[in-house]
């Protein structure tokens, strides 16, 4: 019976189930961050966990990202498996010194004597009318830093499954949860397969163009692919899943088959992940390209508050469709 195999959950519930499982199976695991305890997390992810696991393991912290990320690094060095929640990626800038100068470097600088098995979760992205200080997508900046692993779960299965391997990783892992996904609802296997955090996933197979997306832009790319399919264009959609290190093999393999690539990135275009991916395609698949790589990114403005302006600034399916049609020339 299918009802026994799957259950209807939201992205938020899938994340919570993953944290709960980690807390249950490993006593070294604990969660800390602003309002994760009594309030249940700014986005409701940790609701109920304080009651279930107590204040030792679900810890509210002062409003100091630098302090509690630093504490997380120290705990990880001391043998714990901390999960640190930073409310949004915008605020992780206050902890960037800890993330970059400590978390990402200590293993290297200690000659391998210390590892930092730390997981930092943060919300990213726009679309919820929370304006320019809560809406930016800065994954591209963090993806610049060697020593970090960056994950972007865009599906329920990844929301449920990425935490365990992230905690098992001896190095710091950053997980980006797109704010627009928390209410996404769907069927999820009750006892899902373990999930790897190495590779990008082909979410839709196609032959004519590759749409490369991650996190919040996956649904944009999938809708664009549906629209294109109606126009007779068969687009492949890749979900990056891992933003660092990038899975070149999957990307290059796909582009080598379709000969065209559009990158859909909610970050700003200049110096973006999209720029990095575009460069890699040029370096590794130049002789397989039938058109220049195209990018659909967020307009280079602070994310606006009014809904219509916010939507105008963000990558939209129609823009992706237009980019693909443009590169198909007469065929589009």
């Amino acid at each position: 019976m299918s009802a026994a195999a799957t259950e209807t959950v939201t992205y938020r519930e899938a994340l919570r189930a993953a944290i709960r499982e980690a807390l249950r199976t490993d006593e070294r695991v604990f969660l800390m961050g602003e309002d994760v305890g009594a309030y249940g997390g700014s986005f409701g992810v940790s609701k109920g966990l304080l009651e279930e696991f107590g204040p030792e393991r679900i810890r509210d912290t002062p409003l100091s990202e630098s302090a509690f990320v630093g504490a997380g690094i120290g705990a990880a060095m001391g043998g714990m498996r901390p999960i640190v929640e930073v409310m949004t990626v915008n605020f992780c800038l206050l902890a960037l010194d800890q993330i970059m100068n400590n978390a990402a470097t200590i293993t290297h600088m200690s000659g391998g004597q210390f590892s930092i098995p730390l997981v930092i979760r943060m919300c990213t992205g726009a679309g919820r009318q929370v304006a320019a200080q809560h809406s930016h997508s800065l994954e591209g900046w963090l993806a610049h830093i060697p020593g970090l692993k960056l994950l972007a779960p865009a599906t329920l299965a990844d929301a449920r499954g990425m935490l365990a391997p992230a905690l098992a990783d001896p190095n710091p892992v950053l997980i980006f949860e797109h704010g627009g996904l928390y209410n996404m609802e769907g069927e999820l296997a009750v006892d899902g397969e373990p999930i790897e955090i190495e590779r990008a996933a082909i979410r839709r197979a196609g032959a004519d163009a590759t749409l490369i997306a991650y996190g919040g832009t996956l649904s944009t790319a999938l809708s664009a692919a549906e629209e294109l399919a109606a126009a007779g264009v068969d687009a492949e959609v890749i979900d990056l899943r891992v933003l660092r290190p990038l899975d070149d093999a999957t990307l290059i393999g796909s582009v080598s088959r379709t000969h065209r690539a559009v990158i859909v990135d909610e970050g700003w275009r200049s110096g973006s992940l999209a720029a990095e991916i575009s460069a890699r395609i040029m370096e590794q698949a130049f002789y397989d390209l039938d058109a220049p790589v195209a990018r659909v990114c967020t307009a280079e403005v602070p994310i606006p508050y009014p809904r219509h302006l916010e939507q105008a600034a963000l990558p939209q399916a129609a823009t992706v469709v237009a980019a693909v049609q443009q590169m198909l020339g007469d065929r589009g």
Partner: protein
């Protein structure tokens, strides 16, 4: 395939006027080529003997494609042409080296059957031509399938050749070679239907070519415009007297004076006579005056009066009449089409008073003339009626500034005040 205008990307070889073995001299008409605008006679620039016609009649090829090969005429020293002659005494000698043999044996060599030279890459266009757009994968696939990219029509962005285009062409090539009749005669597009179908097609193609070129001009060239009114009374008075002395058939038109004045002014003002190429102005060595000629049934062509600054008014008049006639019948020569150095447009005949022209890239200036009309003209404190024309200059601000443009127009004015010196 010669470039017969900045907007030309392809040409169709309509007719060969020569066959292998024919002796040709520099300036001979060797072929008729159909651009999208007109049928053009193609001149040859080297003396020699036609060796092989590479492109068959009815074939459309990109600018820069090899049309035919030429070898030196018997008795000529090798090396004056492409070094395609190998002395029979030393067949292994590298062909690029000048043959050391005495003249007698060389001439023998020249008449002997020549080793077949592999045709150069079909896309070896002159350096100033835009490189054809071929996607990287299309280029790779074309190489592996042995497809001649020159024969492939692009369907990608901005007409780029894509992988699918190459694969299509490869399929077509296989089909075509299978369809060749047993006599081995290459399939040639039938001439008669081509001509009639071509008329409508050419209209559309010409609009497209004009559109593309003018859009490019307005997109790339920062135009500035100057205007002056020129008193034509001395010029017309002189012309009347001159024409009275002439036979009716030898009479001059006022527009010839205008053309001559512009040509002479251009010769003295190099900043307006030349081309803007690769972010720099290249002055032209000579003045080839482009004359905008409207065609019956619509469209426009601007062939050149070659060395117009050094021609007499009579020669200019003959040249203009000949050019207009041939432009309208669709038979221009390649040297007339290949990039005039400055263009004149004269819409006065249509009663237009003032024309602000669009520069013909890669030229940097266009002079326009309106109708010559009697107008009130104040001079030395008196108002009188004088024949006056509006002269305008549209010039490329990258190549010159308004100050120089003003002097250029003033010079044209001054030259027209002394028509006897034109």
């Amino acid at each position: 395939m010669p470039s017969l205008g900045a907007d030309m990307e392809f040409g169709k070889l309509l007719e060969w006027h020569v066959k292998p073995g024919d002796l040709v001299k520099r300036g001979d008409i060797v072929a008729i080529v159909d651009t999208s605008k007109a049928e053009i006679e193609v001149e040859i620039f080297e003396d020699g003997v036609i060796d092989e016609l590479v492109v068959s009649e009815g074939t459309r090829v990109p600018v820069g494609a090899l049309l035919a090969t030429l070898r030196p005429a018997a008795g000529e020293a090798p090396g004056t042409l492409e070094p395609t002659v190998a002395a029979p005494e030393s067949p292994a000698a590298p062909r690029a080296l000048p043959a050391p043999e005495p003249a007698a044996s060389v001439s023998e060599a020249a008449v002997a059957p020549l080793p077949r030279t592999p045709p150069p890459a079909p896309l070896a266009a002159p350096a100033h031509q835009d490189r054809p757009r071929v996607s990287p994968v299309a280029r790779r696939v074309a190489e592996s399938l042995g497809v001649d990219l020159g024969a492939v029509t692009g369907s990608g962005p901005a007409g780029a050749i894509t992988k699918a285009d190459v694969e299509l062409a490869a399929g077509a090539a296989v089909a075509a070679s299978a369809a060749v009749p047993s006599e081995g005669k290459a399939p040639v597009e039938p001439a008669a239907p081509a001509a009639s179908v071509a008329a409508a097609d050419r209209q559309a193609a010409m609009r497209q070519a004009i559109g593309a070129l003018m859009a490019r001009s307005k997109r790339e060239i920062p135009h500035y415009y100057l205007e002056t009114q020129i008193d034509m009374s001395s010029a017309l008075a002189w012309l009347r007297e001159e024409n009275d002395r002439r036979a009716v058939t030898a009479r001059l038109l006022p527009s010839v004076l205008l053309l001559s004045a512009v040509a002479r002014a251009a010769a003295e003002t190099p900043a307006f006579n030349g081309f803007w190429v690769e972010d720099a102005f290249r002055p032209a060595g000579a003045v080839h005056l482009g004359v905008a000629i409207s065609l019956r049934g619509g469209g426009l062509i601007a062939p050149a009066l070659l060395d117009a600054d050094r021609k007499t008014l009579d020669d200019l008049m003959l040249g203009l009449r000949d050019l207009v006639g041939r432009a309208r019948s669709g038979r221009l020569r390649s040297s007339e089409m290949s990039d005039p150095t400055i263009t004149v447009t004269n819409l006065g005949e249509q009663g237009v008073d003032l024309v602000h022209g669009v520069i013909y890239p890669p030229q940097v200036a266009l002079v326009g003339f309106g109708a010559i009309r009697e107008r009130p003209w104040a001079s030395e404190g008196m108002i009188g009626a004088r024949p006056v024309t509006h002269a305008t200059l549209a010039a490329d601000h990258r190549a010159s500034d308004g100050h120089a443009g003003g002097r250029f127009l003033a010079l044209i004015d001054r030259l027209l005040q002394k028509p006897e010196e034109l």
